[in-house]
């Protein structure tokens, strides 16, 4: 207890300097925490994916469709429980900047495959019964202030024209990791319209979602599906939902790497600032250490004092930084709900914050401690300023 009191007294000997340093550490921890959260938000889709779902798409690339007829063939594969399908619709609401994820899907099987999208029973029934009906995530509906029963016109980019939908319900995520900004409507609505306007594009499916009865069947099912369509005009690539989502993350890996490097740089910068503070404090107090040595204190006690002081500074800053992270992250997640639908501070991030603070404290105390231990008593006592 006494030691802690001494450490805090020592740390706040120069109030201005210590306050500034703590402020710097708090800001660094705040930005480090935010960057880590951005990185984990990037992986949100991967983390939320289920082990019993497979995604089948055209092997050439995601932009090529598959024939609708594949659905019956896929159903025959052993281990397949449910098959659903859909297309990326790529439309926007009023203006291009109001972009959000919108898909048309086969609704019955889709909702069965995704139990994490929680929809009230009456809303579900209303959605299934209305071919022009749609459902939207809670956050999305809040953003555009949509109410159930509203008419929602979307402007198509891939499928030209204005498409009108009626909002039949909003879904909630089963927990915080579920994306609540998506928009779904009936695949039949798109297909029947295409049959009239662009018959060449009808009966084509962007992707199939396969529900397997047991996770350990996933590998077998994906090989059998792909083998079935080998050497056809539309070869397939089937992978687990996780691998599929990871593929998307991998495409923007370069940006992710930049963010990760930058979050390391910020730790190094703050290390320099704290190390500077520690170097200055010990320089000013070199006489004190000499006196302590005269009194018989050894190098161990002195290093505990310096390291402890460094820890007091970084940990105080770290706690302030962590406390600040929560409100700032909340603002972030409100403002950027569409880009990062899931923006949660993970406990891992908090542990990383703490360990960063400890590492910085040790690194910053290293050189000053060595110097304080090595100084000869006479030299230390003689030195001024």
């Amino acid at each position: 207890m006494v030691v802690l009191k001494i450490l805090i007294r020592n740390a706040f000997r120069n109030k201005l300097r210590t306050t500034l340093t703590i402020f710097g550490v708090a800001i660094a921890i705040l930005s480090f925490g935010l960057l880590r959260t951005v990185v984990s938000a990037w992986y949100a889709g991967v983390d939320a994916s289920s082990a019993t779902r497979l995604i089948t798409r055209n092997a050439i690339s995601i932009i090529f469709p598959l024939p609708l007829s594949y659905k019956d063939k896929i159903r025959q594969v052993e281990g397949v429980k449910t098959v659903s399908w859909g297309n990326w619709f790529g439309a926007y609401y009023i203006e291009e900047k109001n972009f959000f994820a919108n898909f048309c899907v086969e609704p019955v099987s889709y909702l069965e495959l995704y139990p994490e999208f929680v929809l009230r029973l009456d809303a579900r029934r209303a959605f299934l019964n209305d071919r022009k009906g749609c459902i939207a995530g809670r956050k999305l509906a809040e953003k555009f202030k949509w109410k159930v029963g509203d008419n929602i016109p979307l402007k198509g980019t891939i499928y030209p024209g204005t498409w009108n939908f009626v909002l039949r319900g909003t879904y909630k995520g089963r927990d915080k990791t579920i994306d609540e900004t998506q928009f779904f409507f009936h695949w039949d609505y798109l297909n029947e319209t295409l049959k009239k306007t662009a018959p060449g594009r009808a009966d084509q499916v962007g992707f199939y979602i396969i529900g397997v009865s047991r996770p350990d069947l996933a590998a077998d099912v994906s090989t059998s599906v792909d083998r079935m369509f080998q050497n056809s005009y539309a070869e397939t690539l089937t992978e687990t939902e996780k691998a599929f989502n990871l593929g998307f993350v991998a495409m923007t890996e370069a940006i992710l790497t930049v963010i990760q490097v930058v979050s390391l740089v910020i730790i190094i910068i703050i290390m320099a600032v704290v190390a500077n503070t520690m170097a200055m404090t010990t320089r000013e107090r070199i006489g004190d250490y000499a006196i302590m040595k005269t009194l018989g204190f050894g190098g161990r006690e002195i290093s505990i004092l310096i390291l402890g002081e460094s820890l007091v500074i970084t940990l105080t800053g770290c706690i302030i930084g962590i406390l600040l992270t929560f409100p700032v992250a909340r603002i972030f997640s409100q403002e950027l709900a569409i880009i990062f639908p899931v923006f949660n501070i993970s406990s891992e991030t908090l542990y990383l914050d703490l360990s960063a603070a400890v590492v910085v404290a040790f690194a910053a105390a290293l050189i000053p401690t060595r110097r304080a231990i090595r100084i000869r008593i006479a030299e230390g006592l003689r030195r001024v300023g």
Binding site: R17, I60, E96, P160, T252, I269, N276
Partner: protein, 387 residues
Amino acid sequence: MIVPAAYNLRNLMKRRVTTILTVGGMALVVFVFASILMLADGLEKTLVETGSYDNVVVIRKGSTSEVISGIERTQSAIVEMLPQIAVGTDGQKMVAKEVVVLIALPKVSTGKVSNVTVRGISHQSFPLRPQIKLSQGRLPKMGSMEIAVGRSVARGFQGVGLNETVTWGMRSWRVVGIFDAGSTGFSSEIWADVDQVMQAFRRPVYSSVLFKLRDSGDFPNAKSILENDPRLTLEAKRETRYYLDQSEMMAKFLRILGLSLTILFSLGAMIGAMNTMYSAVANRTNEIGTLRALGYQRRGILLAFLTESLILGATGGIIGIFFASFMQFITISTVNFQTFSELAFSFILSIEIVAEAIAFALIMGFIGGIMPAIRASRMNIVDALRA
């Protein structure tokens, strides 16, 4: 009287650890600041240079990129009849009907697949883009299963080197040439005959029609003819505008990310500088008193400490720029969210960025140093000497 600069330099040398740490922190901030500006500049330069001002891209109305656009053959024939289209040296109209699709190829670096643009080209596609030079092999023959790949693709993806064969759409395609399109987006593309690509991918429609204007000022005319023709559902954009629109989101993302990061970082570095300077003032109270007693004015003292802080900032800035300049050797290749296809671009260091970074470093030095310098200049001679 001005305090000699040598005094400042000696002082900085005396407290070497502190000086190195402060300068190091500032150098890192400047490094990040400059790198992010360089990246955003590189991206913009890539996309601006990709288009030519006199070229016009025609895509289906409402589609944001060529990949999701579709133009029927009959519609493309109408576009070809426009009177504003320039005539090339060979007497042919300078117009190219193209199809753009994406294929997934594994990357060299990670082995993971990413989307690469395949462009089906017509005879006029190369003449319309004079910035593209063939660097190895030859051009693909029209009507054959031959492809030419851009430099970034040949370097970044597996299986697309010269004379290698790629299989897609149940056909084998031989790489007969590698072209260099400088720092433009075309370096991230694969080119093959348009009719073969349409056959292989079963895409019966073109993606875009590109033509060169006879006269640069004719664009509004051509645009209004195209967009008011009841038979067409197309829109026309200058090629430069088209490619700028493609990168808007990405450039904005980079700038916002970069700006917010540097502001946060610079707070840290300024605190470092402020600490250093406050400590310098506190440690040198006696010296300040002596200087004042020797006849140096308050203003001289203020200037001396400010200079010292500015030296810290400038050194940090120069070191930061020095290391940032090495980033020019790095090429970033990532998927553009808007087009969903791979795009390679590099860091570009311009004189403006150097100036901005140095100015930024000096501002950090100034903000860090001004308060301590004011404190130093306000010291009372007698008190300072007694301390």
